[in-house]
């Protein structure tokens, strides 16, 4: 592909500066043979060239640096102005054409594979892909936008622009207005991931380290009906499946009452938040075989990255009863390191005291 788009199959983790963390990670997973829905990145250069071509750069910088971070009205006004600029300015034909071509190629390829006739209208997810290292700043900088069930090249291009515009939430403007010009400019780099929608009927998150204690021998899976946002956003209390990595073996299952789910809207675009029928609410949304399959994939992801991961996934059930797992995203789970530093906290003073004497005796320090 060209300067403005890159297929996931062409990316790996070193491409973060060009395509952001999310796309680089997806590319890395594809390269590792993990089941990731196909897609492409709209590169950082696309937005950079757009800003230069339309003379937006100076204008946006002026708006951001001119905003009063303490003043809500001022931030809101800066937000409105920036969004209008980004969504209203003309997108250079080269950029637009490349995104369009990339989408149509993906769409047609997929339709052929699936044997469907919606060759130019295969639904995709469009998400921001931040370039900074740890992702903490990304949430401040407004680089966490997601649009699901986007259909057709025009809509894809619109949503890419909305991801760009999402750099300018009032909160993000407040954050960048306090940075230096150079840092603010760096913090407003953005790439966008365009990825096939997983038509999931169950989705969730897998941690390859215990989120409650930082125990690295544990896998925890949270899962709920429908698309994954309900779990990620915390709108639904998900089922919990706890496993020991050895095996892996399922150790504990906690079935929650899952009252709501996100499903694709009937029109083929967008999603719908709806009640789950009573008879499905209180039953497990994963079979034990599916839990084990998810765990095994999670172990492969962890092994590939060499550190504990936090993995978003979706499960698509086929008519024949089999299920296909798709990984949507994987991030390093960093909390366990902090936990490790405070690990001895759970050892009581009494034990520590006795063990001090024992250690001295075994080593012959007397």
């Amino acid at each position: 592909m060209g300067k403005y788009t890159r297929k996931f199959t062409e990316l790996n983790r070193h491409d973060r500066p060009l395509v952001g963390g999310k796309c680089a990670s997806l590319g890395e997973m594809v390269q590792a043979g993990l089941p990731v829905p196909d897609g492409f990145a709209v590169t950082v250069d696309a937005y950079e060239d757009y800003r230069d071509a339309s003379n937006l750069r100076q204008e946006l910088l002026r708006i951001v640096l001119g905003a009063d971070a303490q003043n809500h009205a001022s931030l809101q006004q800066a937000h409105n102005e920036s969004v209008a600029l980004i969504l209203g300015s003309e997108l250079p034909a080269a950029i637009e054409q490349e995104i369009r071509t990339a989408y149509l190629a993906l769409s047609r390829e997929t339709a052929t594979r699936r044997g469907t006739d919606d060759a130019d209208r295969i639904p995709v997810a469009v998400r921001s892909s931040a370039t900074d290292e740890d992702g903490d700043a990304a949430s401040f900088a407004g680089q966490q936008e997601t649009y699901l069930w986007v259909v057709g090249a025009d809509d894809v291009i619109d949503k890419v622009r909305e991801c760009w515009a999402s750099l300018y939430t009032p909160q993000a403007i407040a954050y960048r207005s306090e940075l230096s010009v150079a840092d603010a400019s760096e913090a407003s780099k953005i790439s966008v991931a365009v990825q096939l929608m997983a038509t999931a009927d169950v989705a969730g998150v897998t941690f390859t380290v215990s989120p409650r204690t930082g125990d690295r021998s544990v896998i925890a899976i949270n899962a709920s009906w429908g698309l994954g946002q309900s779990v990620v956003s915390g709108e639904v209390t998900p089922d919990e499946y706890w496993l020991n990595k050895l095996g892996p073996t399922l150790t504990t299952t906690r079935i929650a009452s899952k009252a709501h789910e996100y499903v694709p809207a009937p029109g083929g675009t967008g999603v719908l938040f709806r009640d789950v029928e009573v008879e499905r609410r209180d039953i497990a949304c994963l079979t034990e075989a599916e839990v084990l399959q998810l765990a095994e994939i999670a172990l492969r992801v962890e092994k590939h990255y060499g550190c504990p991961q936090d993995i978003e996934w979706a499960l698509e059930h086929h008519a024949d009863g089999t299920a296909k797992v798709m990984l949507l995203q994987s991030r390093p789970e960093t909390n366990w390191k902090k936990r490790k530093e405070e690990k001895s906290k759970n050892t009581t003073k009494g034990t520590a005291n006795l063990l001090g004497f024992v250690a001295a005796a075994t080593k012959g320090d007397n």
Binding site: N353, L354, F357
Partner: protein
């Protein structure tokens, strides 16, 4: 202190006044406590029980202020039943052994021994206050030298210990109870002119007690050092893997070839041998030792098999049906019904194509894989400490795992049977009608009876015993029954401020959580249909419960039932082939029920506290060995 207490009480009163207390609010946290030992009532029909126990093991009225202020935990692990008067030797001996080893031999710095009391026949214990900082420092210096010597010479000392224990067991077995013959031997007159049988009788009894006491020092010799070394590894594992369970840690350490499995292995070997010799059918047909002998004695093959049985018996059938701590538990060697039935079961399994070998290689491989797995999850920098503490744990573990067979099974089987030899002699002299009656006398009372007999025999008269003991024994048997129906609380006295002595936690399973569970159950709270314990062995099973309170009820267990017991004994292993899961009231980290359950692939929940008092035989229950819960699925009947 006082100010804080007042403040808490005032708050409680204010809250109570503001909102009408519901039944659950009536007991505020400050009022919670276990029953005061001085307010425990004597069960009806057990009046006078105090005479059955030595004064040093009782709550004495003039010591009330001191003893009521302490928390007493029931020792149901070793003393699940009412103790018999003579059987107090295992209380006195065991607490002396562990006390002297901790306090005087190794000078364990942070912990001394335990005080012991018996109330209504049940044994309670309370930790002696920890030494202060100065004393700990003084003890630490000694501990370093003493424990260090053991840790550094462990294998040699353990081999030597095995020799000393075996010698002690033989010594008890070989104690000669004088026959009290009509005349002293002629040699006594012409040759040695030593003590007469009158004197030797008392000397022999003292020798029995001497060994009965000393064996506990051998029992404790390596035990706390072993547990302390294991605690190092356990603590390290829990720091790195906070959610790891105790059983997984002990699996990394434990040996696959443990003495406690040996008796069961002997039964399997005897089953194979019977088939090889073509006498399987004759063995299956027998249920008692007499039948076995009459079935097999006639043929050469039968004789060969019987001599193989005799070889297995010594020592492997010196295997108690219970914890071994009670004379009444008896051992395989005293009653061959269980081994004979188990050999029959194994012959059937052989014919069904099962080769009956314990999968030693597979277990060894699983253990290695487990260690490799956990090593792979550790950072490089954490590996040396993991490897070192694991290696030390493995060094100490053979003792931790095997001492139980030597002491509680092999030694005590011989000890109780030697006491029965004395009893037989006294029965002959009219002291009582039943050999088992001697166990209703305290050790000091037996000594008095022996002096009575020695005087009477010496003079050529009749002892007084037959006019004194039978009435007392009859009454004590009634008291024993009455006490057996009493339900002893898990603890007495105030709620402990802090449970943090690591060996208490590890050996007795007493944690702040267990204390809380006891209090909730005592106050009538907690679920009546769900019990929580430790996940002993993974898996989930449903079935009908079979509550087995004593070893002599074991033969009631039917195929496919779930065994519910206060505590299981290693000698019950053959029964595990019949059951679907097991639940026990008590269970520490080296709990037998859990080890055997894993070996048999049966779910187990141990340490439920109230399994035998909550679950009734015949109820449908679900045992979740992953979560450590037991659920009663039937409505309790007759409630």
């Amino acid at each position: 202190m006082t100010t804080t207490d007042n403040a808490v009480e005032e708050n409680a009163v204010e809250e109570g006044a503001a909102a009408k207390p519901s039944s659950s609010d009536v007991t505020t946290p400050t009022e919670r406590s276990f029953p005061d030992p001085y307010e425990i009532e004597t069960p009806e029909g057990a009046e006078g029980w105090e005479d059955m126990y030595a004064y040093h093991n009782r709550f004495l009225p003039s010591r009330q202020a001191e003893d009521s202020a302490k928390t007493w935990f029931r020792n149901s692990l070793h003393y699940p039943e009412v103790s018999y008067p003579f059987d107090q030797v295992t209380i006195d001996g065991a607490f002396t052994g562990t006390g002297v080893t901790n306090t005087r031999v190794f000078a364990l710095p942070p912990a001394k021994g335990l005080d012991v009391r018996v109330i209504n026949g049940y044994t309670y214990m309370s930790t002696i206050a920890s030494p202060d900082a100065d004393e700990q420092a003084r003890r630490a210096e000694e501990f370093g030298k003493r424990a260090g010597y053991y840790f550094q010479n462990w294998d040699a000392l353990y081999a030597e210990w095995e020799g000393r224990v075996t010698t002690a067991i033989r010594a008890v077995r070989d104690i000669e109870v004088p026959p009290l013959s009509e005349f002293e031997s002629l040699e006594r007159v012409t040759e040695d002119r030593g003590p007469t049988q009158a004197n030797q009788l008392l000397v022999a009894y003292h020798r029995l007690l001497e060994h009965g006491d000393q064996i506990w020092t051998l029992h404790s010799e390596f035990l706390n050092l072993g547990y302390a070394a294991y605690l190092q590894f356990l603590t390290l594992c829990k720091e790195h893997f906070p959610e790891i369970d105790d059983q997984t840690i002990s699996r990394m350490v434990s040996g696959v070839d443990v003495l406690l499995f040996r008796p069961d292995d002997e039964l399997r070997a005897l089953a194979r041998r019977a088939e090889e010799l073509g006498v399987g059918e004759l063995v299956i047909a027998a249920t008692t030792e007499a039948e076995l002998l009459s079935n097999l004695a006639d043929s050469e093959a039968g004789q060969t098999w019987l001599s193989a049985l005799d070889v297995s018996k010594d020592p492997w059938f010196s295997f108690s049906y219970g914890s071994g701590m009670y004379h009444s538990h008896r051992s395989w060697i005293d009653d061959l019904r269980l081994p004979i039935q188990a050999i029959g079961d194994y012959i059937h399994r052989l014919r069904g194509g099962d080769d009956l070998t314990r999968p030693i290689d597979k277990l060894q491989k699983e253990r290695d894989e487990l260690v490799t797995h956990y090593r792979s999850l550790l950072d490089e920098e954490d590996l040396p400490a993991f490897n070192e503490t694991l290696a030390l744990s493995r060094t100490v573990f053979p003792y931790v795992e095997n001492h139980n067979f030597y002491i509680e099974h092999w030694f005590l089987t011989n000890f109780w049977n030697k006491a029965r030899e004395f009893s037989s002699l006294m029965q002959k002299w009219g002291f009582w009608n039943d050999v088992e009656d001697i166990f209703f006398l305290r050790r000091a009372e037996v000594e008095e009876a022996i002096v009575d007999l020695q005087m009477a025999w010496s003079a050529g008269g009749n002892p007084q015993g037959g006019h004194h003991w039978p009435a007392i024994i009859t009454r004590r048997k009634q008291i024993y029954e009455a006490l057996s129906n009493w339900n002893p609380p898990p603890a007495l006295g105030p709620v402990p401020g802090e449970v943090n002595e690591p060996l208490t936690i590890m050996l007795w399973g007493i944690t702040p959580e267990t204390v809380e569970r006891w209090l909730t159950a005592q106050d009538g709270g907690g679920s009546r249909t769900q019990l929580t314990g430790f996940a002993g062995s993974p898996g989930i099973a449903e079935g009908r419960a079979r509550v087995v309170l004593r070893p002599d009820q074991l033969d009631t267990v039917q195929d496919g039932e779930i065994l519910v017991s206060p505590v299981t004994s290693p000698s019950w292993t053959p029964v595990f082939g019949r059951i679907r899961a097991s639940v026990s009231d008590i269970g520490g980290i080296m709990c037998h029920a859990a080890i055997v359950s894993r070996e048999y692939g049966l779910p187990a929940v141990v340490g439920t506290g109230f399994g035998t008092t909550t679950i009734k035989t015949g109820q449908l229950i679900r045992v979740d060995g992953n979560a450590g819960t037991v659920t009663i699925l039937d409505e309790p009947t007759g409630v």
